[in-house]
Amino acid sequence: MAEAAIRLEQAGYRRSALVEWLTTVDHKKIGILYYWTSIVYLLLAGFLALLMRIQLAQPDMHFLGPKTYNEVMTMHGTMMIFAVAMPLNAAFFNIAVPLMIGARDVAFPRLNAFSYWSFLFGSLLMWSSFLFGHAPDAGWFGYANLSSSRLYSAGPGLDFWDLGLQVLGISSIAGALNFFVTIVNMRAPGMSLMRMPVYVWMVLITAILILLAFPSLTVGLFMIMFDRYFNTNFFNPLHGGDPVIWQHLFWIFGHPEVYILVLPPMGIISEVLPTFSRKPLFGAPFVIFAGIAIAFLSFFVWAHHMFTVGLGPVPNALFAASTMLIGIPTGVKVFNWLATMWGGSLDFKTPMKFASAAVWMLMMGGVTGVMHATVPLDYQQQDSYFVVAHFHYVIFGVIVSGLLAGTYYWFPKMYGRLLDERLGTWHFWLTFIGTNLTFFPMHFVGLDGMPRRYFTYSAETGWGTWNLVITIGAFILGLAQVLLLINVVKTMRQPATAPADPWDGRTLEWTIPSPPPAYNFAVIPTVRGRDAYWIEKYGDGHHVPAATDTTQRREVHEPRHDNPGHGPLPPGVHLPKPSWWPLIVSAGLTAMAAGMIMHGTETLGPLGFPIVGLGAFVVFFGLLGWHFEPAIEHEEAHVA
């Protein structure tokens, strides 16, 4: 049936490639846009890390000045979190989630494009601060009143940070709304919540976390903005303001944020380990429930970043307890992953390598997290390199490794090609060694009393030796990432011949060609269990495999067709129509932020508000246009 339809020509939009990318509302393309943008940012922000590492390689270096160092450090942290880890996750939401739930697209394709463009423009706005010689320099959590007073942070640096983050926040909230609705409303028939792949579960939980965590950041950023622009007193102690309020607002957002970053990679691990062990995820309901528990608890632990602020012993003790509780569900995940591998038939393809390493590094980073949660220890560790070691283990070790596992795993669904295994193996080992060489010695310098965010240190501190090792490790780590690029270039030169199901996969994305056609599923599948595809292939004791059950038979291992994006549409399928409006609205929004930044400068001040107004105008008419445009191809231009 699909065969016949394929030969038809898709009517309508044949635009130039550029226009196609600018107006695309296809989740797969948006996913690819997200992916490459954040990979470029990973290299840039990693490059900043290398600059820091050169400066710190030995005592009393004069490579970066104090101010430049702070700018580099702040931009490294901010961009890694908001422009690398968040959007790289979003990339895989886009690439994998609709395919895994058997949907043809997300619930709001244009909103999806809007999320991407706002992310791109917002992050470009922030990067552009380097061009103006004033990058933000108050650390990624921009503690008030250093950040909120022009007395202590003159110049537009912190304005770039504040308003750039507002735009990125809007992008994240829009994306989270979209994926929440998509997952709740658009699952294939038969896919009850408990049959949903664990990755999709983690994305759902992440969306909820984003929705409940970001508003607090938004409010805090507004307060900093008001303090900076209109001399309000939110964080000004001279009028009774309390800078600690900002810390609460930030960490009420910031702590859930780290789980926003880590839960989806944990989901990837939960897909990769079973696939390459040929076993279902051990205790899947427990893994899912652990995710829910982590998410819930994560709202009640924020003050563990503030143990030294002077909240008093009672709050410290309570927050320590709630923080430690998170170790339990995380442990449940770790042990279930280990039990998944146990007794399996483990195939150490590159995704599996990264995923297993991530399990180990989660343990490594997690136990130091528990040490931080032990308040008295944190009195010594807080703001030292011990913390830097902790979070790079979880961030690089789990998040980046998890996302790299995802890259190798889903690359066929992005490009119809399999990345090279040999290069992948090199990439893995160099990354693994580099990660540990870089971040393990940070524990030592941390315990030896080296505070973070120091642009230099003297020889008498004795921190020099390990810092040199760290720097060497960082360069190995950086080099390793170049291998990924080489691998991609090499792979992309080969023909796109990846089969639909290269890994003997378990979930729905492997039932359709690599890369999938624009409409994803010619026929929306019916789901009979969590490992929907595996059950169809091999049965699971309750169900008969589709191969013998003719009622359930579907075209699997279907050969790829050339140019599937332009194939004919199966009957009854409507594709969302490309649209300029998301791009226009994001541009308007970013213009508003840029205008606000200008308003804070001396030279461009008078231009500020007119540009804000112009941006608002563009946003308003953009939204009108968005509203009037038919959302679906071929749809009558009916208006609502």
Partner: protein
């Protein structure tokens, strides 16, 4: 999952008016509570909160149709409220029960 339209009387203008009347009464009582603040003493705050909660629930349940609508929506909104309220209760404790006094500028 799909909830069938329930046997509830289809709400219409009559319901809306009734709710409006209740809302008005609650508002009047609220303002009266404020007026008699000194007599009510420590009771003022809880009484005010109860009236506000009643108004809140009336609008959400009737005007926003939650009472007649899919339960999932109630769940979503209730969780949002619950997290918000508990975080801010914790904040209130940090600031007003365990908090050290701030310095007077």
């Amino acid at each position: 999952m799909h909830e069938h339209p329930t046997a509830h009387a289809q709400p219409g203008p009559a319901t809306w008016v009734r709710v409006l009347v209740l809302l008005t009464i609650a508002t009047i009582l609220e303002v009266l509570t404020y007026v008699f603040e000194s007599t009510l003493g420590v009771l003022t705050a809880p009484i005010l909160m109860i009236f506000a909660a009643v108004k809140f629930v009336l609008v959400v349940a009737y005007y926003m149709h939650l009472k007649f609508d899919n339960r999932i929506l109630t769940g979503i909104f209730a969780w949002g409220m619950l997290i918000a309220i508990s975080i801010f209760a914790a904040m209130a404790a940090i600031y007003h029960i365990y908090g050290q006094p701030l310095l007077t500028p």
